[in-house]
């Protein structure tokens, strides 16, 4: 067969769409790549998350605010109300990933009939609406859980914790100067593989079956003004429009507008020119709104409220909080954090020391994949607020360096503390092993230092005297940055460890009555130490 090239084919809608897909996917990858201290330069790296109307909508429910850049989501609501879910097949990087991998792994070489069958609507596809209802119910209850499956959060998280570290593992120093590690990354990795792999069984499995953002946009689409219209006088019921239908939206019969990804494949696949994208076609030839049986919606509500209640009453965000839940600087207090964090893990991506890690069960059921600090892996750099810089929802507020360190006009308030470091004298070289050390004091970054030492002369086991310095902690000055723990030579379980107590974000988790860094500093100055 001879390949015929027709220059006009280049202008086909399908190709225009492909150009957009390549553009938006590349832009997403670019943003992911430059989310790094070296390249950041003010790029709006969280733009996709800010455009995501589900993020804005769900956080508005939990916090009654729309945080800073989340206003951009209006840019996406507008075209959805006009044209439908064009986001899903034109812009969404995760949708494009599934479109591409579906093409790569799927039935593209299969017989026409088989492909048509694979793209028929199934009742299973209403599951995403139940998922959305459950997530909104959970949000109304008081916990934000859209991040589990919101495609932008899911894709950012997968990139940060799995894909980029994997690339760097195979090509050392391509992404990071030193290899990054993420606790429990394998869970996120296998989930990604599973979702991509499911395209073999059901094309666009994630988009059609699970995606809560798709369900949200689908719901908005029901009032879209432009819609695919089938001219029943021309249609010959050949079903060829289903051959490449991405959304499984039944263009061959009554169009399900809420399922339609507006990919335009059906229009170009129609041999009879029966399909067109029209302004306000009659609705009688459509299934206008999402089809969700009432009892399924009720079940979804129960699951969402249950998730909130079971998680909250497990106590991890209350008295039974875990000492390991050390949140990034500028984080709002724990209950509010669970109202805001979408588990996108952009903070984890941008963190220059790799200290930020996706939580597993530390902060309870609700806090899975939210960021916590792991001082074994990294430490919080004092003059750095990048995590707050990229956080789209204000779970980590966009605090300045001065606000973080309590300097300049913020000297009265004092620094943001993440926790407090405690010595474990049984593991400490100068305290327990007759060996000089005090690396912790050396690296302690605050001035005056929170860690101080006293010189002592002791008689060693062999009878010889040794003079060394034994370290102490001033809890009023410690900011919980964890560099002492990170640099401690006892690397498996450091002789000084930070726990969450003393964090300033929560009045309930402070250690000292006056909370008084500043008064402590004043007192120190008085004592002229």
């Amino acid at each position: 067969m001879k390949l015929k090239f027709n220059p006009q084919d280049l202008l086909k809608l399908r190709n225009v769409r492909r150009v957009a897909q390549v553009f938006f996917f590349t832009l997403f990858l670019f943003f992911v790549f430059v989310t790094d201290l070296r390249y950041l330069k003010g790029y709006p790296v969280s733009l996709y998350l800010e455009l995501d109307p589900l993020v804005a909508f769900a956080t508005a429910i939990t916090t009654h605010t729309v945080y800073m850049g989340l206003m951009w989501s209006l840019l996406l609501i507008l075209p959805t109300l006009l044209f439908g879910r064009i986001f899903c097949n034109w812009i969404c990087p995760y949708g494009i990933l599934h479109h591409f991998t579906g093409w790569l792994l799927g039935k593209r070489r299969a017989e026409e009939r088989e492909r048509i069958e694979a793209n028929r609507y199934k009742k299973l596809y209403s599951l995403k609406y139940v998922i959305l209802i459950a997530m909104i119910a959970a949000a109304i209850g008081g916990t934000l859980q859209i991040g589990w499956l919101d495609p932008i959060c899911l894709f950012h998280r997968s990139m940060s914790t799995v894909i980029l570290p994997m690339i760097n593992l195979f090509v050392p120093s391509s992404i990071y100067v030193r290899q990054y590690f993420h606790v429990g990354a394998w869970v996120i990795g296998f989930l990604l593989l599973f979702l991509v792999g499911m395209n073999v069984l059901i094309p666009r499995f994630f988009c059609r079956v699970l995606c809560p953002l798709g369900a949200f946009l689908g719901t908005l689409s029901s009032v879209a003004l432009w819609r695919i219209d089938r001219d029943t006088t021309k249609c010959v019921d050949c079903d060829l429009c289903l051959k490449s239908c991405e959304g499984a939206s039944d263009p061959q019969t009554q169009l399900r507008k809420s399922e339609c990804f507006v990919c335009f494949n059906c229009i170009e696949d129609c041999p009879e020119d029966a399909l067109s994208f029209k302004f306000m076609p009659p609705l009688k030839r459509e299934v206008t709104a999402p089809v969700v049986p009432g009892r399924r919606a009720f079940l979804g509500t129960l699951i969402g409220l249950g998730f909130y209640a079971f998680g909250r009453t497990s106590g991890a965000s209350a008295r039974n909080y875990d000492k390991k839940v050390i949140r990034p600087p500028g984080s709002v207090e724990e209950i509010d954090f669970l109202d805001r964090c979408i588990k996108c893990d952009q903070c984890i991506r941008v963190c220059p020391t790799n200290v930020l890690q996706p939580a597993l069960m530390e902060s309870g059921l609700e806090g899975i994949w939210t960021p916590i600090l792991n001082m074994k892996i990294g430490f919080c750099e004092v003059n750095c607020t990048l995590c707050g810089e990229v956080c789209p929802t204000g779970a980590i507020q966009r605090v300045s360096i001065e606000e973080k360190t309590g300097t300049g006009p913020f000297a009265k308030e004092g620094p943001i503390k993440l926790g407090t470091a405690f010595f474990d004298r049984g593991r400490c070289l100068p305290w327990a092993m007759e060996t000089p050390c005090v690396v912790c004091e050396e690296v302690c970054p605050v001035s005056p230092k929170a860690i101080f030492s006293r010189e002592v002369t002791i008689i060693k086991r062999d009878g010889n005297p040794i003079t060394l310095r034994q370290p102490y902690m001033d809890p009023a000055l410690c900011i919980g940055c964890g560099i002492c723990e990170h640099e401690c030579p006892v690397t498996d379980e450091a002789a000084i460890r930070v726990t969450a107590i003393g964090e300033t974000r929560s009045r309930d988790r402070r250690l000292l009555m006056d909370g008084g860094v500043t008064s402590a500093v004043n007192e120190l100055e008085k004592r002229q130490r």
């Binding site: 605010t65 729309v66 209006l74 306000m280 030839r285 507020q397 402070r510």
Partner: protein, 339 residues
């Protein structure tokens, strides 16, 4: 191909959009566009904040103190053997309960039920003392008597085992437990206490406040009497108070201006306070001290009931120095009586 198109002929009804439908659909979509824009604008948080450093504007407790009297004593010491008779004698010495409580008043009595202990161990306000004070309040015309405390141990257990639940039921007192929503922020210009969460529901109703405290030894601040009793009005992380205990307790004298305080020294917890635990820790002292100045009342209690040197009780001195009360109780207008 052949099987299709029955529609070749005339278009079916519904094939065109009526003007009404056209406008309706346009309107719905337009309204949603405008609505989402307006909602987002209304909810917009354009600036960040610094978590944990937000300014909290708390309430301040008003003064419940009675009018100052130049003739009536401000301190009464009564000796006797039974709670009711002795408390009555002390109140008579002060000029009678109707000096403090008038017809229709809602009185909040703040007992000290910090621990889950039986009355005999003298770690909590004695039920007979509560019964007597409540009775005097009702006799003076009180409309309602509230009792409330935020104990260290479990609230229900503390009230039950101290015997106060029984008194509340028997005398129809309004027992308020420290529930989740019972607290509100308080602002104070104290030495240490600046902003704290406090048990405010009783104060929404009460217009008179009586502190009714047992006289006890305290491991850290030497003594828990009528000033320290106000600890039970606070919530939050009170275990931090011990870092500056004398400053905090003296701040209580600034925070709370009660109508009256009564120190129950009938049986005094002399050692192992504030919890006690053995009958041998308790000594009968058969005294009730009542007055309008909690610092003077506590000064008497420390010297004559706990029988210790007032010089060491730092918090009383701090309060005295700040003009919150008079540690030299003998300089006040006082009256000592026998029941």
């Amino acid at each position: 191909m052949s099987a299709s198109n029955q529609n070749d002929a005339a278009p079916l009804p519904g094939d065109s959009v009526s003007r009404r439908e056209f406008l309706l659909r346009l309107g719905v979509t337009g309204a949603l566009i405008a609505g989402s824009g307006l909602a987002a604008r209304a909810l917009w948080q354009p600036k960040h904040f610094v978590p944990g450093f937000e300014k909290v504007k708390g309430a301040q407790l008003r003064s419940y103190a009675p009018a100052v009297s130049k003739v009536l004593p401000s301190l009464a010491i009564a000796h006797g053997t039974a709670h009711e008779a002795t408390i009555r004698a002390a109140m008579t010495a002060l000029g009678g309960m109707d000096r403090f409580i008038q017809n229709g008043d809602v009185v909040m009595i703040k007992p000290n039920v910090a621990f889950d202990r039986p009355p005999a161990l003298a770690a909590t306000t004695h039920p007979d003392a509560l019964r007597a004070v409540a009775k005097l309040c009702f006799e003076a015309g009180a409309h309602k008597v509230i009792i409330a405390d935020n104990p260290i141990n479990s609230p229900t257990g503390c009230f039950l085992k101290s015997g106060l639940t029984t008194v509340a039921a028997e005398m129809n007192l309004d027992l308020m437990y420290p529930e989740t929503n019972s607290f509100a922020p308080l602002s104070l210009d104290g030495e240490i206490l600046k902003e704290w969460t406090f048990f405010n529901t009783p104060f929404k109703k009460a217009n008179k406040v009586i502190g009714l405290a047992p006289c006890k030894d305290h491991n850290l601040c030497h003594a828990s009497m009528t000033t320290k009793n106000w600890y039970g009005l606070l919530g939050g992380r009170r275990n931090q108070f011990h870092q500056h205990i004398h400053s905090i307790v003296s701040d209580f004298a600034l925070m709370m201006k009660p109508t009256l305080v009564i120190l129950d020294g009938m049986n005094v917890l002399m050692s192992n306070g504030p919890t006690g635990g053995r009958l041998s820790d308790v000594k009968p002292m058969n005294t009730i001290v009542a007055g309008t100045d909690m610092i003077a009342v506590d000064a008497y209690g420390y010297e004559h009931l706990l029988e210790r040197d007032i010089a060491e009780l730092t918090y009383l001195h701090k309060a005295n120095d700040r003009g919150l009360g008079n540690i030299n109780w003998k300089d006040t207008l006082y009256k000592e009586v026998q029941a």
